[in-house]
């Protein structure tokens, strides 16, 4: 079973076309294995990205280097999934 320990979900509030271009460039970085929950499409919509633990520092450095502000909406995905799983097991009982 795939685990997501240390994976985070980052939210970027896009401010400009330049931000959009930089975020789109991230989509092509295959080695980061990013999972875009909300893609960079307009300045009106935020961008949500699930970032594997192994890519976290690179991704955060990239965003900081380009002064793109972001927040962490899920600190550790596996914790949230463990809670979900525990709840499902309780329900089943």
């Amino acid at each position: 079973e795939r685990v997501f320990t240390g994976d985070q979900v980052l939210r970027v509030n896009v401010r400009s076309e330049e931000d959009l271009q930089l975020l789109r460039a991230m989509e092509t970085q295959e080695e980061w294995e990013l999972d875009f929950w909300l893609h960079p499409v307009s300045t009106e919509l935020p961008v949500d990205i699930r970032v594997p633990r192994s890519s976290l520092s690179s991704v955060k450095e990239y965003l900081q280097a380009h002064a793109i502000p972001f927040t962490v909406v899920i600190e550790n995905m596996q914790e949230v999934l463990d809670e979900e799983k525990a709840e499902m097991e309780m329900n089943r009982m």
């Binding site: 079973e1 795939r2 997501f4 979900v9 939210r11 999972d35 929950w37 909300l38 893609h39 499409v41 919509l45 935020p46 949500d48 699930r50 909406v73 899920i74 995905m77 949230v80 999934l81 979900e84 709840e87 499902m88 329900n91």
Partner: protein, 310 residues
């Protein structure tokens, strides 16, 4: 096994087998209204069941609702279960729904991507696609909402089998998509096609494969705007309304583009909650609020379809 729909926990996420078993319970409880029909099998040979809500007649004008074409969007399948129960239990008590079902049928496909859904429970909670194999690639799965014969292979779909938005080798290559296409075509009298996704709170109409306006853009837009007003009454949840291309991004091969292009005018896609705080792991305590508010919008759209035959 669940013995009654009253003992079923609609506020919880359930595995595929539990939902399939619950369908039998629903049919047993409302035999005059609900039937379960197998429309085909998935790539991994799981049955695909639609729930048909009908008070009689043959090939009456009908409304299609599918949930969970993207496996990990769990609140959409859970909303489908709640909604099916709502339709069955409120027939004869809800005047609008009753008048609808006296003239039209509703078809619901709750597990539109059964292999993917099972996979999210056993192997990878974040899986989105089908589980089909692609020759020459180690990566599995096709995005079933890029696989319809509507601008297939165009912008907003990937040709890489490893991508989450891989369009597949050809239009309708995915048996899960083909099964739906066959049913809709052989029936021939669907008037509305509604696909339910999650998240980000959007109500969309065609097109996704093109950014040009569809001929019924104004009508679809105004239906959508009223529907999201109704939805917001319960909890104030804010939705955006627009064409797929204009409010999310250009995406080819989508189901509602196909349905619209085959003549089903009232084609819509929902993106249910949430706001991004939980994404695809929306806590189970939000299932019923999500389903309840969505029901307000669905009822409005379905009532509109009933009152505007074409």
């Amino acid at each position: 096994q669940e013995r009654s729909t009253r003992s079923f926990n609609f506020g919880a996420y359930h595995p595929l087998e539990t939902i399939y078993s619950w369908m039998d319970t629903l049919v047993a409880q409302y035999p005059q209204l609900v039937t379960k029909e197998e429309i085909g099998r998935s790539y991994e040979n799981r049955p695909m069941y639609v729930l048909k809500f009908s008070t009689g007649g043959t090939k009456r004008p009908a409304i299609w609702i599918d949930t969970g074409i993207h496996a990990r969007e769990w609140v959409s399948q859970a909303t489908g279960v709640w909604t099916a129960n709502k339709i069955a239990s409120e027939y004869t008590t809800d005047a609008s729904l009753t008048s609808l079902l006296n003239t039209m049928d509703i078809y619901m496909l709750i597990l539109t991507n059964p292999d993917g859904y099972a996979y999210t429970h056993t192997n990878d909670r974040m899986w989105r696609k089908t589980r089909s194999r692609t020759s020459g690639s180690a990566c599995r799965g096709v995005d079933p909402n890029r696989n319809w014969d509507a601008g297939f292979g165009g912008p907003g779909a990937s040709k890489s089998p490893c991508s989450d938005s891989y369009h597949g080798p050809s239009a309708h290559s995915e048996i899960e998509v083909k099964n739906v296409v066959n049913l809709i075509k052989s029936h021939g009298n669907f008037k509305s096609f509604i696909s339910v996704h999650a998240y980000s709170q959007l109500l969309m109409y065609p097109y996704g494969y093109s950014c040009r306006a569809v001929p019924h853009q104004q009508e679809l837009d105004s239906i959508g705007r009223v529907a999201v007003e109704k939805l917001a009454v319960l909890y104030g949840t804010k939705y955006k309304v627009g064409s797929i291309c204009n409010i999310i991004y250009q995406a080819s091969g989508g189901s509602i583009d196909w349905s619209y292009d085959v003549g089903i005018k009232y084609s819509f896609a929902f993106e249910l909650r949430d706001t991004g705080r939980f994404g695809f792991i929306l806590p189970a305590n939000q299932i019923i609020p999500t389903a309840s508010e969505t029901w307000q919008a669905l009822k409005y759209i379905m009532g509109y379809v009933r009152d505007h035959p074409y």
